[in-house]
């Protein structure tokens, strides 16, 4: 009995930090409508800065002072980020905001390693809370008790702040109707900045308070952000009470899940999240969302099939690509195969995102599932390559069918967060379930059959599959199913009003995209000869997003170009620098801010401008940011 009480208290203590970070994310989202992906990064910087300060400053005053100063210092960094970056993208589609803050996260990951080094840092114990309290023979760290008290205290302070101060009233008003608040004479800019500062302060405080419990390391940002996304999806975005209740719930599920499913405790959290989403898609304490704002893919230039000349040009490009083995060496062919595989991956996400208007932040899950599918079939069942290639992607298909069913119940940022959380769950399973997946060691020795083993043969296979997939998806865009899907993207309500089952259409699109990604993953497993949890990790999901964005999210087939350019650049970059995340993150931020239409989008715009001087209004509308005049 005592053991369960202690386990329960441990869960409550973990909930404190989770609540701080989640409430910060919720507050920021409520007012600015930005889901701040970089929130985990601020949490991590908070921990690092607090570590440095508490090491330098001595005594109890130094420790607690260091924690508070760290939170304030990081809040100041947040203010700078808000003023320099976010102010430029408040009117951009949600996807761009998520991507920009993700780019920031990548940059921070490299920066903290540059500043603090790659090793785990173990911080000081909290003065006054060093010991443990004996509870019927079980030890409870007294610091845990401090955290258990702190959570409700912070909740109370936040409640007072929002209910009893003018600032709180303004924030709540702005959460509901920003323009009206401005029309009553309130300077939104500073309101947004102050809200962002408070949110970041909470995240950094959450990080700083973790140092007596956990080591500080440079991957803690992604771990917390996924948990926080789960918390806000369960609790409801924008609700502080919801963040508190859900933080406690998730922490307790983790604490007790370990007892029930020691290897895959995350399953329990997933099941609860799925149950909540079925009953209340907007979370326990959230409100039903208003119809989504502009989604990526909404375009001013209507899409059309390729003309016969353009078809010839595409065919010519394919033929030229097919001649690569005649003059290129093995390394170039391997790179070429990898690029072809990423074309498959990118067009599958593009189909979901641009055609379906559903920006998935966890698309790598289905790519990776395809890869694991092949690995299981080849290694455990010993099936030949051709069978594995045909059956392996079905694992991606099944994953997409299960997760997609839940994901399409939501849209916009909720969809993005949920897909990310699902992908992370799949990753955790692959990582933790060592007996089946090999865990971090992966599954090795997935080699192609002899007829496909030579680099040139494999390249031709990859290229052929990539071409087929691209053509098939493109044909689907201009099929009745494609029309229906684009209709759900442009107006969900009107689509349903004309008798289309929108959720089913979106679910179907999700499954198609997932299966296609699985095909890419299946080929990838054979290309590398092995499968690792990284094949379904977040960074791969983001790679796909960047490829689509780079090519142009509003185009029909920009993803092909995006994948080629990005992958080639990426391979080259990784060979050139250790700071690839820093460069990549900066690159993402740059695309979002100055280059939001992507390569193909830019080319189309230039071509259009040459054809006719388009009316000024049209180009204005095409810009993501509502500029005056």
């Amino acid at each position: 009995m005592a053991f369960y009480v202690v386990q329960f208290l441990t869960g409550l203590a973990s909930a404190a930090s989770l609540f701080l970070v989640a409430s910060g994310l919720s507050i920021i989202f409520g007012v600015t409508r930005i889901v701040n992906f970089a929130h985990g990064a601020f949490y991590m910087i908070g921990a690092y800065v607090a570590f440095t300060l508490t090491e330098r400053l001595s005594g109890a005053f130094g420790f607690w002072g260091g924690i508070v100063v760290a939170a304030f210092a990081v809040a100041l960094i947040g203010v700078i980020v808000e003023m320099v970056l976010l102010r430029r993208i408040y009117h951009a589609p949600e996807l761009f905001q998520l991507l920009a803050t993700f780019g920031l996260t990548l940059m921070v990951e490299d920066l903290v390693v540059l500043i603090w080094g790659p090793d785990d840092l173990v911080g000081r114990r909290a003065p006054g809370f060093r010991g443990a309290i004996d509870f019927f023979g079980q030890n409870i760290p007294s610091y845990d008790l401090f955290l258990i008290v702190l959570g409700p205290v912070v909740l109370g302070i936040l409640w007072l702040l929002f209910q009893r101060t003018r600032w709180g009233v303004l924030v709540r008003a702005a959460t509901q109707d920003r323009d009206m608040v401005a029309a009553l004479g309130v300077n939104q800019k500073w309101l947004f900045t102050s809200v962002f500062a408070v949110g970041v302060f909470l995240a950094a405080l959450g990080g700083a308070l973790q140092i007596p419990r956990d080591a500080v390391h440079h991957a803690m940002d992604l771990r917390i952000i996924v948990e926080v996304f789960v918390v806000v999806v369960i609790g409801g975005l924008g609700s502080i009470i919801g963040a508190f209740v859900a933080a406690v719930l998730v922490s307790e599920l983790n604490a007790f899940g370990i007892l029930i499913f020691p290897k895959i405790s995350i399953i329990l959290v997933f099941l609860v999240m799925a149950a909540v989403l079925i009953v209340r898609p907007w979370g326990l304490f959230g409100k039903p969302e208003a119809p989504a704002r502009k989604t990526p893919g909404l375009t001013v230039n209507p899409w059309r099939p390729l003309t016969s000349n353009e078809r010839l040009a595409a065919l010519a490009a394919l033929v030229i690509a097919a001649t690569l083995p005649l003059f290129a060496g093995n390394y170039a062919l391997t790179v070429g195969s990898e690029i072809a595989i990423f074309v498959i991956f990118a067009v599958s996400l593009h189909f979901l995102m641009s055609v379906g208007g559903l920006a998935s932040f966890g698309h790598a899950a289905y790519f990776g599932l395809g890869a694991y599918g092949v690995a299981f079939l080849a290694k455990m069942a010993g099936l030949p390559m051709i069978v594995c290639l045909l059956l392996g992607p079905l694992l991606g298909c099944m994953g997409a069918a299960v997760f997609g069913f839940f994901a399409v119940q939501l849209s916009g940022v909720y969809f993005a967060m949920l897909t990310l959380a699902f992908a992370q769950i799949v990753w955790s399973i692959a990582f933790q379930w060592v007996s089946v997946t090999g865990g971090d060691n992966g599954i090795l020795g997935v080699w192609p059959s002899s007829w496909a083993a030579s680099p040139s043969h494999f390249y031709w296979i990859a290229l052929g599959v990539a071409a087929l997939v691209t053509i098939a998806l493109r044909a689907m865009v201009f099929s009745p199913f494609g029309y229906a899907l684009r209709a759900t993207r442009d107006s969900l309500l009107r689509t349903e009003a004309i008798g289309i089952n929108a959720k089913r259409i979106q679910w179907t699109a999700f499954v198609i995209a997932g299966t296609t990604a699985g095909i890419g993953g299946a080929l990838f497993a054979y290309l590398k000869g092995s499968v690792f949890p990284d094949n379904l990790g977040i960074s791969l999901s983001v790679d796909a997003l960047v490829m689509v964005l780079l090519g142009g999210v509003e185009t029909v087939s920009g993803a092909v170009i995006g994948a080629i350019v990005y992958k080639a650049l990426n391979i080259w970059l990784v060979s050139q620098t250790d700071l690839s995340k820093l460069v990549l993150g900066g690159f993402i931020v740059l695309i979002v801010v100055v280059f939001p239409k992507g390569i193909v989008g830019m080319l189309e715009m230039l071509a259009q401008r040459r054809k006719s001087t388009s009316p000024p209004g049209a180009t204005l509308l095409a810009k993501p940011m509502g500029s005056a005049e």
Partner: protein
């Protein structure tokens, strides 16, 4: 002149909505902007307070050109705006809604306190702690006006205040607007209801398809039944 609008053009994306709108409002005057649904009344107001991003033209308020300033600065100059859709903060109580609108005292404009506003709109005084979402349409309309008055404006843009209200509430609205006028607030009121406009206005402009096609006193408008019939549905 309190407010002078000259050559105002507005666009929503590629659509040109307002064409060279021009009108003026004197200190202490109540001016009606009349027009049918979709004529451009709300867009005119939204453009004046800077809520329509794509706009050109000159908007002089108390001798200052406010056409290039952001919304909150325009409003802080004392130019209050009451939107058509009311846009009450439904999660906030009556008192909190008023708090959002509160701005410091202004030398050249009447000063409104909560007590004064509760005297003007007695219904509101009886439900200080009720959330805006649980009020009737008429009560919400009163709350939007009271909320804007908390900013102590010297001029108020009132967008269709009588829309969708019962005759009894409309009467109260007329009284409230006349009280505001007596206190010295200049008012521009957009209306489809000529009868209502006549009860409160000194002068009127008629807007049709984004263009001003008449301007004059109420008496002058009454003398031109042709214009009235052509541009206003009765």
């Amino acid at each position: 002149m309190k407010l002078t609008v000259e050559g105002l053009n507005s666009h929503y994306g590629p659509a040109h909505i307002l064409f060279d709108i021009g009108f003026e409002v004197g200190a202490g005057e109540v001016v009606a902007l009349l027009g049918r649904n979709g004529a451009g009344k709300s867009t005119t107001f939204r453009s004046i307070v800077g809520l329509v991003a794509q706009r050109t033209g000159r908007i002089m308020f108390e001798g200052k050109d406010v056409s290039v300033r952001p919304t909150h600065e325009i409003v802080r100059e004392g130019l209050g705006y009451v939107p058509e859709e009311r846009r009450i903060f439904t999660d906030l109580t009556v008192e909190e809604n008023l708090e959002v609108g509160r701005q410091p005292k202004r030398p050249n404009a009447p000063y409104w306190t909560r007590e004064k506003l509760f005297a003007l709109f007695p219904n509101l005084g009886e439900m200080k702690n009720r959330p805006g979402g649980r009020m009737s349409g008429g009560e919400q309309q009163m709350l939007t006006i009271a909320r804007t008055l908390m900013g102590n404006p010297s001029l108020v843009l009132l967008d269709e205040p009588s829309e969708g209200l019962s005759p009894k509430i409309v009467e109260q609205m007329v009284d409230a607007i006349l009280t505001m006028k007596k206190e010295g607030v200049s008012i521009v009121v957009s209306e489809q209801n000529l009868h209502f406009a006549r009860l409160i206005s000194d002068r009127a402009y008629i807007i049709e398809r984004g263009r001003i096609c008449f301007g004059g006193t109420m008496a002058e408008l009454d003398a031109r039944p042709d214009i009235r019939d052509a541009h206003l549905s009765l």
